[in-house]
Amino acid sequence: MNLVLPQLTSEAMAESLSILLIDDNAIRASIIEAGLREAGHATVQIVTDMEDVAGRIRAFAPDVVIVDLENPNRDVLEHFFALSRTIERPIAMFVDKSDPAEIEAAVEAGVSAYVVDGLRKERIKPILDMAIVRFRAYSRLRNELEAARSELQGRKIIERAKGILMRTRGFSEEEAYALLRSTAMNQNRKILEIAQALVTASELLGP
C-alpha cells in the first residue's frame, strides 16, 4: 500500500523534532506514537525492550526521549545520558524546572521526558502535553477494562447466590433476587456483598 504523505515545507521540517519513545508496554507505546504522528511529528521511534537501548539512542540521536516513569531502567538511561552527553545535563526532564505544575502533571500521568539542553520550552511543551494526555488515556482504558472485568465477576457471583437460593429454598429467580436486594437494603450493604457472603457460607457448609 502506498501512503501519500503530506509534503512538509522546509520550514516545517526544520521545526520537527525527533522523538524516541521508551516503553515496555507495546500497546501504550503505539497509542502514544499515534498521537505524536497525528500531531505532525513524523520522526518517532519506539523502543520496547531495553537491550541495547544505548546503541539505539546513539544511532537515532533524538531531541526528546519520552519514557514510562515505571520503567526500572530510568537510572540506566540517566547514566547513559550523563556519560554520552547526547542529551546534555540537566537531562531530565519535564522541560522546565520552574514549572512545578507541568512537572507534577507529567509525573501524575506516569511519563518522564528527557530533553536535549537548549531546546526551547515552546517546542517541547506540546509534545509533553500530548504524551501526558495519551498516558492518561491509556490508564483510563486499563481502568475501564478492569472495571468491566470485575463487573462481570460480580454478576457471576450474584448468579451463583441466586442459584443457591433457588435450589435450597425453592425460590424463583425473581424471588431469589428480591431477597438478596431486600437483605442488602436492610443491612445497608451492596447486593454483591450479600451474594458473596451467601456463596462463601454455602461453600463452607458443603453441598
Binding site: 516513569l69 520503567n71 530510568r74 540506566v76 540517566e78 531530565a92 524546572k97 507534577e104 509525573v107
Partner: protein, 406 residues
C-alpha cells in the same frame, strides 16, 4: 483520633527494612502515624517524587540528598537526610568465570579486600594483554554508596575505575539476570541481590562493602527540606518510630519475622532465605558455602541511624574524586548541610535512646568497637577502618580531596 498519614517511597532492598518494619510492626502507629508505603522501580522515581511532593519521605541512596542540593538532579528542591537507615549491607559479586580467574591469581576465599583486589588487578591486566574486552561492573546508580565503595576499592587496588574497567548501571532486581546473561561481569549492590546471584549459581561474592570500609554508610531517610520545616512534629515522630523499628530489626529474636515480612510479594518479593542470610550475616560467598560475618548489615547499633556529617562529606569527596562535581567551598558546605544530625538528635531527646553528641567524626580511626559517651546513654561506635588504612578527617577535606586526585 485518627492517624496522620505519611507517604514513604522505597526501592525493594534489604535496607528498606527499617521503614517497612516501622509500618508493619506498629512502631509508626504508636507514634500516631500511618505510613503509606509505595514501592518504586527506580532511584530516579524516588528522587522525582520526593522533589515534587508525591512522597513525603523515602528510602534514599545516601549521596542522593547531596547531589540534589548540588544541582546534579533535574528538579530544584532542597532535600535533607535527617536519619540513616543502616550500615554495611552490600557486597561485590563477580561472575563464576571472573572468580575462577581471580582464584587462579591468588584471590583468597574470605573476601579480604586487599588480596582480592590484587588478584582482580592481575585479571584486569591479563585481559588487557590478551586483547579481551574490559570487565563490565554494575552498580545501581552513579551517586550511590556502592559506586563509591567499588571505585574506592578498585583505585586502592591499582585499577583505574574509569579506564581499566567499565562501570554501568543496572537496577537492583535485574543484577543477577544481567550477570547470568553475561551483560555484566560483576556488580556491587545492596542485599539480597548478591545472595540471589550466588543462589542461582551465576555469581560469587568476592568481598563486601563492610570489608572495604567497616560500618560504612549506605541508605538514608530523605525528605524535602520544605516538608521537614512544615511538619517538624510528624518528622520527629517518624524518626522515633523508625529508630525503634531499627532496634527491633536488629534483635535476633525478630530476624525470621522480619525476613518473612520482607519476602512478601507486596514488599520485596524475594525469597525469605536469601534475606535471612543477609540479616543474620550468614552469607554464602558461593553456593553451599556459608561464611559467617558478624555485623554484615547493621540497622541500629553503632549509631547506625545517625546521619553523620562526616559521612555526607566523604560521599561529597568521592563525587569530586570521580568528576561528578567540582570542589568549591560552597559545594562542600551544601553537602554538609544535606545531613541533619540536629533534627535527629532533637527528635530522640528524652526517650532513652542514646544519640551521639558530636555531628562529625574522623572516619577510619577506630580499629575496635569503642564505647563513647552519648546523649541519653552510652554508645559503641566502630570499627570503621578503610581496608587501606586511610583516614578521612572532615576538617581536612581539601587535603583528602587533593591526595585522591594525585
Amino acid at each position: 483520633m485518627g492517624l496522620t498519614q505519611i507517604v514513604a517511597g522505597y526501592v525493594p532492598l534489604l535496607d528498606s527494612a527499617v521503614l517497612l518494619a516501622a509500618e508493619e510492626f506498629g512502631f509508626a502507629e504508636s507514634e500516631g502515624l500511618h505510613l503509606h508505603l509505595v514501592r518504586e522501580t527506580s532511584w530516579a522515581n524516588i528522587r522525582d517524587r520526593v522533589a515534587i511532593g508525591h512522597l513525603d519521605v523515602a528510602h534514599m541512596l545516601g549521596p542522593m540528598p547531596i547531589s540534589a542540593n548540588l544541582g546534579l538532579t533535574p528538579l530544584d528542591a532542597a532535600v535533607i537526610a535527617p536519619m540513616a537507615l543502616g550500615l554495611g549491607g552490600a557486597a561485590i559479586t563477580m561472575s563464576m568465570a571472573v572468580w575462577a580467574a581471580m582464584a587462579e591469581a591468588g584471590a583468597p576465599e574470605d573476601g579480604s579486600p586487599g588480596p582480592v583486589g590484587a588478584a582482580l588487578r592481575e585479571v584486569v591486566l591479563r585481559r588487557h594483554r590478551a586483547g579481551e574486552p574490559r570487565l563490565r561492573l554494575a552498580v545501581v546508580h552513579p551517586e550511590s554508596a556502592h559506586n563509591y565503595a567499588l571505585r574506592y576499592w578498585l583505585a586502592a587496588s591499582g585499577i583505574d575505575p574509569d579506564r581499566q574497567v567499565d562501570i554501568v548501571i543496572v537496577p537492583p532486581p535485574l543484577q543477577a539476570d544481567a550477570l547470568a546473561a553475561k551483560r555484566t561481569d560483576g556488580f556491587c549492590v545492596g542485599e539480597p541481590y548478591g545472595s540471589m546471584a550466588v543462589a542461582r549459581g551465576v555469581g560469587r561474592i568476592v568481598t563486601t562493602k563492610g570489608q572495604i570500609w567497616q560500618m560504612s554508610p549506605d541508605k538514608v531517610l530523605g525528605t524535602r527540606l520544605q516538608w521537614a520545616q512544615r511538619y517538624p512534629e510528624q518528622l520527629a515522630a517518624l524518626l522515633r518510630a523508625a529508630t525503634r523499628a531499627a532496634r527491633w530489626c536488629e534483635d535476633p529474636t525478630n530476624h525470621s519475622a522480619l525476613a518473612g515480612m520482607l519476602a512478601r510479594d507486596d514488599r520485596l518479593g524475594v525469597e525469605g532465605d536469601l534475606l535471612l542470610r543477609a540479616i543474620t550475616g550468614r552469607l554464602e560467598f558461593e553456593a553451599g558455602k556459608e561464611h559467617a560475618m558478624s555485623e554484615f548489615f547493621v540497622p541500629y547499633s553503632r549509631a547506625a541511624n545517625f546521619p553523620w556529617v562526616s559521612h555526607a562529606l566523604w560521599f561529597y569527596s568521592q563525587m569530586v574524586r570521580w568528576g561528578q562535581v567540582a570542589h568549591k567551598p560552597e559545594h562542600a558546605a551544601r553537602a554538609a548541610a544535606s545531613y541533619r544530625p540536629d533534627l535527629y538528635r532533637a527528635a530522640l531527646s528524652g526517650i532513652n535512646m542514646p544519640v551521639p553528641g558530636a555531628s562529625s567524626k574522623i572516619e577510619g580511626a577506630l580499629a575496635e568497637p569503642t564505647e563513647m559517651g552519648a546523649i541519653g546513654g552510652r554508645l559503641t561506635l566502630g570499627p570503621d577502618m578503610f581496608f587501606d588504612a586511610a583516614q578521612f578527617d572532615p576538617d581536612r577535606l581539601d587535603d583528602y580531596i587533593a591526595a585522591q586526585q594525585s
